[in-house]
Symmetry: D2
Subunit: 397 residues, 4 copies
């Protein structure tokens, strides 16, 4: 795919957030040789060069509902230690270029505060506008394709509605009712209608509705998700197989997540947290082969800024039931962990689209807490699968 004409758009929903800003600045830094691409999996020697867009091929745009300019956001992130100060000057032009491609996003959505009936069909109109923004970006810049990646704040869990079950029912509801879809799903709907693959980077609902799966398949579009693993769950995805393979009996696995920054504030809402803790727990029990005691707590600690700290305690038994324990703590910068994965996913999903794949990409499970279309939760197996996937995209050697 590395030929001429493979310029690829990366359309970020939540384009002014920390993750998106770090991705935009970081991609520019790597492209210009000013920064290291630590954290980018597709740059490892295990991965072939072919089949994926190059760094030079990536062009950024997106939606957001705040209007702080990207250079101001980048300066904030530099003060917070997420971006090196030294990058901002040399990359100012690239940052401004991305800023110029950011459009006003879909309004937030609160199922506890429904829109009035007269707003019926408002979502259909929003979806059209969103789709038009993306198509304009693609056409104006002559891009081969645009991958839409949702990196906006986590939404509250959404109640199941019958109209989510099939595409005709969904289209009908959108024409006649307000508040049919949460924003993450509305973006997926718009993206698919515009012929764009979609990545659920967050635990929000996004493309995971039967109606949207139907739409993606019918349009020949791949999608990936959901909920990128960047800390506690990443570590769990190697430790849980270790305990299982060593036949050590895990009795309880308890986790505490202290989150600064934006996602922390969102998850202070117990409804939003529920969708995240659900993601986290599912993989753990799948890997251990059964339910274990313990629970996951998420707390918002603004003093941590862009950082997050997780502590896990694992109580397990060895031979003859002797009780033992392990604990770990992880201190990471959320955006610096997430941004390279955004770029990896944009490249891989672009490659999948170019290769003609459609529907959920279970083989990208490596990146996610709660991967679609697979039951593979162990990181080592996921990595093997990912390498095979990338090799297949690259084609015969």
């Amino acid at each position: 795919m590395n030929e001429q004409g493979m310029r690829t758009g990366v359309w970020l929903v939540g384009a002014r957030g920390s993750v998106a800003t770090t991705a935009v600045v970081g991609a520019a830094a790597v492209r210009t040789g000013l920064g290291d691409c630590h954290g980018c999996v597709t740059e490892l020697p295990d991965f072939p060069d072919a089949g994926l867009p190059r760094w030079d091929d990536l062009v950024f745009g997106g939606h957001d509902i705040v209007d702080l300019s990207l250079d101001k956001r980048a300066a904030e992130l530099a003060d917070a230690g997420v971006l090196p100060h030294r990058l901002l000057g040399p990359l100012a032009r690239e940052i401004d270029a991305a800023d110029a491609e950011i459009r006003c996003g879909a309004p937030p959505y609160d199922p506890r505060d429904p829109l009035p009936p007269e707003a019926a069909a408002a979502q259909a109109r929003t979806a059209e506008r969103i789709g038009a923004d993306i198509e304009d970006f693609r056409d104006r810049l002559g891009l081969a394709r645009v991958v839409v990646v949702n990196v906006a704040s986590t939404e509250p869990a959404v109640p199941v509605r019958p109209e989510h079950g099939s595409l005709p029912a969904l289209r009908k509801a959108l024409d006649s009712e307000p508040d049919v879809l949460p924003p993450s799903s509305l973006y997926a709907y718009a993206a698919f209608n515009a012929g764009c693959p979609y990545v659920d980077f967050t635990p929000s609902t996004g493309a995971r509705l039967p109606a949207l799966d139907e739409l993606a398949r019918s349009r020949g579009l791949p999608y990936a998700g959901h909920d990128a693993k960047t800390g506690e769950t990443l570590v769990q995805s190697v430790l849980a197989p270790m305990f299982a393979q060593r036949a050590l009996r895990v009795r309880a696995w308890s986790g505490t997540n202290l989150l600064g920054g934006g996602d922390g504030a969102t998850l202070a809402d117990p409804d939003a947290a529920a969708s995240k803790t659900g993601s986290k727990r599912r993989g753990l029990e799948q890997l251990l082969g059964r339910q274990v005691e313990g629970h996951v707590s998420i707390a918002h600690v603004p003093a941590l800024g862009e950082w997050k700290t997780a502590w896990d305690h694992i109580a397990f038994e060895g031979f003859l039931g002797v009780p033992m324990s392990m604990q770990f703590s992880w201190h990471g910068c959320d955006s610096a962990l997430a941004a390279p994965l955004v770029l990896d996913l944009a490249r891989l999903v672009a490659g999948a689209h170019a290769a003609g794949l459609a529907g959920p990409l279970g083989r990208l499970a490596f990146f996610f807490k709660d991967p679609v279309a697979t039951t593979e939760y162990g990181l080592a197996d996921q990595y093997r699968t990912l390498r095979e996937f990338a090799a297949a995209l690259a084609g015969p050697a």
Copy 2:
């Protein structure tokens, strides 16, 4: 191999130590249904029943240089929380039976305090006596085979000597000089001469000398080793691949090991510790693909009794060089972690012998810090290899 006549001896060097005693009592507890076999990998559903001796097939004996009876040692371990008190009464007969098969071991060896010249050939005589003890055990009890497992205290690192380089040179030196081999290697020599496979469960030299490899191959005997991973290194063998696969750049990995019990006392000797920290570090750097800062310290803390606590600190960089860190601590009961692996290894090496394999068993790397005949250090890959190995032993389904 599960037919009649497959009774298998497990000959433990260091038979009155904590690991050996736990293995003997635990095997009896599992056989009689009184105890759980947590920690026994070969009992996982991933492993076939065929090809390995059954629990009922295992018979225990061994060498030791202390003479505390096994039931007293077991009582100490019960007070220390390693064995459940409730097992000792019901298993008294089995414990006594193993005790009756323990013979006086080879004298310790201190390269800094050499034997006098008149002791020349003393080691050759000791090796003959040791071999005769094992052959008597096998013949008297009608065992199909005996696997010798070294679980004695870690020895100091041993200087390379030219006579270790070939079997003829070794035999000649044993006939004419004292202190040619450290005890762990003398046991391997005796075991191979007696037609028995051998397992290096500790970091001591054991079978890892060219002369002994030559002997094992010439006699058609398999051997495995070395240095079982039961804590810090086990965790490292899943975390290091995680960092590597996520392209996160590890800058420094520092480890502290607080060891109670016998092994702690041995490793308080910096020479013995050197052989252990070497084992630990090799795998880590292999997995990360390069050298990293940090060092491993081992301290003897008798107050921890049979327990050990390890703490590791990992400094790593994410996207654009942002510094992050992870730490873990592991609190485990050494003997309860090691004993089930002793049983796994005895069964697997017996199966390998029955299947006609000879020489170093690289496919058992899953169990070891510094495995022989392989460069596979990641636990997930090692587990896959182990399953394939067990399936091959089981033969066509």
Copy 3:
């Protein structure tokens, strides 16, 4: 007070629980020289011999609503590693003697499931029966006094009721209404009526009602409380002053408590947890001089058995606002931490009663998360106050 005739009853509410059983067995072990009194503050060289009942002077009894015999409970605690197995045989007679002095307790109380109106005055009758049990114990055994200590499971927080505000109102309500007092307060009411000092060892309401304070003072009775600090809060009470005295600005202090055993189950009820987390937080903010971010979570993890693990994360700033952090984890056996404090408090409150003190004993703040009648939360200051208190009880040297 060490003269003849100073035999002192220790009446335990929740007498068959882990803490009470450990206190009874432990006191017998110390008295007979079979056990160490680690954890008993009044045995430190800093404390005078005079003024407190001796170990030989202590006699145990109590109330409970379960009827598992004390020797069976002690056997369970030995299996759980809380009591040494070797003590149970030699102390059987002492354990049975305490068991024979345990009476049936007050029924539990659930403000969400009120008693029917016809049960009016049931609490008044229960209080009379309880008081009679204690008086019988005192009179029959010829005790100088009986200290009542509440070590029962933590109750849900109790709504404020006007009749709690004065003794006449309380007496009137008890005569005409059901469910006036939570059990912990009913015991305090009964104890005071019987002329006995009272210790709130738990976060339950107990004596902390204006009406009960009035009763204690009018009867010349001292009381102490509440919520003994045995782990996370104990550590906080030295770390928080350290940060304050070093002028290091604590930004966030987050705590996670994993509790096995009985108290864990109780605190899985968010209402009961609320009363505990309130206790914990108050002291911390008092010591730091202001509110800080972060929150306390309590989770019930039955797999931990009698143990509890707490993890605290402290984010603080140094010079010029540089962010730093500290974390600690505490792995303790709850009953083995609590029981010696129960004995210390029984002895000190007995001494206070003998010395004629009445009302809340603020000078015992050293023992409590949320001490009555004081604003002294730092452990070092509390210890100094405690030594002065003990010296005063001992009288002129």
Copy 4:
């Protein structure tokens, strides 16, 4: 002392190091209102305004053997996250002013590489030059006094020599031999000769020689030290009293220190580390009242940059010998912890000098791992003593 004419010099030995640079920039930031004085104990409300030089009164100079300019050093520290970038511009003039007062220091000293005999009396000449530099600074700037503070890299432990035992013997040796004193002591000698108080901020020998004590007293000069506690030892100084006051029996206390930056490199030398671990261990055992198992390790981990991480594991016993444990880790920025204490000490020692105190200031133990002239190691007691000291300097209210 807050009157006109109280301008005070702070003369930093190691003036271009991280600690000194942070102290200089930080003092300027606080004076100009651009920075917070977190970490400055003398600014707490517990401390009176009177008796100490004000921030406006402090003037900086010093010695160093490297010649990187202070503004470059400050820029490095800003990149490393120790100083806020935003301060460097506004404070450039103040930084340059301090830079202009830095003189070339005494050459390093290696007892394993002695100077040739012809260098006899070289140290006497160096001491004279150093003293003249300080006197020039004081006289030229019209300072009421100059406090000399050693913040240079830790020296190896120094062998005891007979000429250290008295002032006449020392003077005689300096006139006729090379290598009589380590640099830290040579600076103290020069400072005292110049009429200046001295602070041993590091574990180096400094003023702690009988001959130098004699000199300080004869000149009416106070001195303070040694080895400021800024992390692990600070925490130990509150946790150890906690265990002691709770009668919990500490069995083992093990510590691991991972140090980046300059001090880490110095302490990678086992000789230098020995002087540091000795300091650390003394206080711990004093506080616990006896020796405990465990040991302190110090490792240099350059990847940590200006940060250090310490991990301590404490194994202790509760009632009836039940084993429990606690662990903590401390992640701090060394210079940001040390610099405010340098300023505190400079102010307090200046106040002591103004008040006519001479000899070792045991009442400043609060700041040090191994304080002179006191056996008070518990932080709470040390704080109380410090407050009384400051109140005495302030005079009658």
